[in-house]
């Protein structure tokens, strides 16, 4: 059976789960990704979630794709937390030592990013060590101070992550409810079929029992 979904999309009840998710793509599960994000990762996450469902309905697939998007947002916000710390660390370093003339030196920020990722060349590493020494700070001191500085924004990102968790909980409940409903309908269908199968047998008996 085909449901005509507009924009030329057709959703077949009997089609495989992967195809169901693709057929909903244009307005429900089209991922809005950032330039550095991989669509393949997003889709593989979605497929792994769908594989956990036993023959999901199209609505369940739509809800699962929303759930996958929530997980994706949690990933983004977790990266943001670390970026916020880096931002604050670069700011503190720029303010310290002989670099106080500028507030947020891009060069410091870039070198620190490389330094923290372990991708800094010799000059960059020496330079960051030099600024740390001038500011009389170790890297862990700097991190602690940066955490204090960025606490307000980190709290905001924590709130955003918490919101996504709450949303996931809502979606899970909705998916469970759809699953329960479909099981209930199936069970009622079976009971009805069983009753119907008994009915002709009874009729046959009464017909046979009728005196001639």
């Amino acid at each position: 059976m085909l449901y005509n979904v507009y924009f030329g999309i057709y959703v077949d009840v009997a089609m495989p789960v992967e195809d169901k998710s693709k057929s909903l793509l244009p307005f429900l599960s089209s991922p809005k990704l950032l330039p550095n994000e991989s669509e393949a990762d997003f889709q593989s996450g979605l497929q792994s979630l769908l594989s956990e469902l036993d023959n999901p309905s199209s609505l369940a697939v739509a809800l699962v794709s929303q759930l996958n998007e929530c997980l994706w947002w949690i990933k983004r916000h977790t990266v943001d937390k670390e970026l916020l710390l880096h931002e604050a660390m670069a700011r503190l370093l720029s303010k310290g030592g002989s670099y106080s003339a500028t507030y947020d030196n891009r060069k410091v920020s870039k070198a620190l990013e490389h330094y923290l990722n372990g991708r800094a060349d010799k000059d960059e590493a020496e330079w960051i060590d030099e600024i740390l020494a001038e500011s009389k700070l170790t890297l862990s001191d700097l991190r602690v101070r940066a955490f204090k500085d960025a606490a307000r924004h980190i709290k905001m990102v924590d709130d955003l992550i918490h919101r996504q968790h709450q949303t996931i909980r809502h979606l899970q409940r909705s998916i469970d409810s759809i699953d329960y409903k479909s099981r209930l309908i199936k069970r009622m269908d079976l009971e009805l079929a069983a009753l119907e199968s008994k009915q002709p047998a009874k009729g046959a008996l009464t017909f046979d029992a009728e005196p001639s």
Partner: protein
């Protein structure tokens, strides 16, 4: 605190002074406050193609007509919120690097020249420097691009909460 406390009375008195815009122009201005993300406007889902498509889709799963309409509207509303969330996240207020990184103390001669090339009053220069410093503090308080996008996205939390609650309620009642 009792209602007769002077502080409470002062608060009440002050609140009478600040109950929003009074003039027609002021009301028109404040009515556009929500234009940033558009989530406060009442949406018209019923006339959209997506809505009809979703209603058809959900109807095939054994939901009543009323539940189908509710679920379709809930899902579209949730998508609307999440799209606005993405847009807000990806386009934060830009950082004014000039204002943020400028050295205010070193700019005093420039202020002096700007105000009066023939020799300005020191008080004027000090006021201009103080104004510039205050703007710089505001700019710095907003932080970098990551801080800004977090702060902007944070404002949409309540819309997300309402959107998902509406969708979830519609599905579970159906």
């Amino acid at each position: 605190m009792t209602p007769n406390h002077p502080r409470s009375l002062t608060n009440r008195h002050n609140s009478l002074k600040s109950t929003g815009p009074r003039s027609v122009a002021g009301k028109q201005t404040s009515s556009q406050n929500s234009r940033k993300h558009g989530l406060n406007c009442a949406p018209d889902f019923e006339s959209s193609l997506e809505y009809r498509a979703l209603v058809d889709l959900v109807a095939g799963e054994g939901f009543s007509a009323f539940a189908c309409a509710d679920i379709a509207a809930g899902l579209l509303n949730y998508r609307r919120v999440m799209d606005a969330y993405y847009d807000t996240y990806t386009s934060p207020e830009p950082v004014d690097e000039f204002l943020r990184d400028a050295n205010v103390k070193a700019s005093n001669p420039i202020f002096r020249e700007l105000l009066s090339p023939s020799g300005s009053e020191p008080q004027d220069v000090r006021e201009m420097a103080a104004f510039f410093a205050s703007m710089q503090r505001q700019e710095r308080r907003k932080g970098g691009p990551v801080s800004r996008r977090s702060a902007d996205s944070h404002k949409l939390i309540r819309y997300q909460r309402n959107g998902i609650a509406r969708l979830s309620r519609a599905v579970r009642r159906g």
